[in-house]
Symmetry: C2
Amino acid sequence: MVRWEPGTAERLQKVALELFATRGYEQTTAAEIAQAVGLTERTFFRHFSDKREVLFQGQELLVQAFLDGIEAAPEDASPFEVVACALRSAATFFPDERRPHSRTRQSVIDRNPALQEREHHKLTTLATTVATALRARGVDDVAATLAAESGATVFGIAFTRWLREERSLADIAAEVLAELLTLAARALRPAR
Amino acid sequence: MVRWEPGTAERLQKVALELFATRGYEQTTAAEIAQAVGLTERTFFRHFSDKREVLFQGQELLVQAFLDGIEAAPEDASPFEVVACALRSAATFFPDERRPHSRTRQSVIDRNPALQEREHHKLTTLATTVATALRARGVDDVAATLAAESGATVFGIAFTRWLREERSLADIAAEVLAELLTLAARALRPAR
């Protein structure tokens, strides 16, 4: 479990998100964010390399949650079973009380194509990292890529639904993964 | 089937690829490309909006090949069966005689992160278009996204293998899709 420690970085992040959501991302400067919590721009840049990082910091923790799930998977788990473990672990990163924050963040990202591209790139990086971890478990190259990419797709769809619904991300992700497996099974049925 | 008509655009494309591969993409200008086939820079820009487009023009034809495959799928085909049709249709876009061209193009893209990003974006757009076409067939939202994203993943993996191997893209894509379905089926087996 990752702790969500309230500190300077979190205060900056919270107020930045409010400013991005109300004034607009482009219209908000790092100096204004710092000022709003009584800090200097210099302090802002001690915590974030740039304004965009306010929205993306902590990504490595999410990736780590996936990797923790992979490590915890039984040794004889199939690639998709490992991915299921990874998704369960990643879901702990988004407890329901984080939904309001995530919704605001998403509304900011949805209004800015460059941020959308960055967010999409996050999923790509995630898939690459998961594939590497699967290969390290002895999964062959193509199977590792297929399972990892599928995991990232399931996570992306589940996360979007989690923002709209009130159920837990773990439940939604399990349901979306099950739907993928069922769809695949339907295509394996004997030809009619 | 898409015809590969030799004309001014194709001559420009061919020589551009040679220059990108030998001198480097960044080091080659539109004027130099035009000059190499005895044309003016102005003529170049009548065929391509910029230098990058030389590498990406025709993408809509590939997307159309996917859509043609979807349209040709039997009405009662399951989402993944429709995706299989789309992949077969898309494979006709890359006959084996196109492999040398595609290999050179890929070597240029592999050496430039911005081009890699653009290439990746192509797959994203493809997935979105395929998902829309599946929804239009009455496939529900999540299933359409899952099948479309899986199709794009399979296409990406198959294409990379096609560049390295000597087998047809249709065969490789069918094999990668079958591997995905088999992996998924393994995860559906009863718990041990």
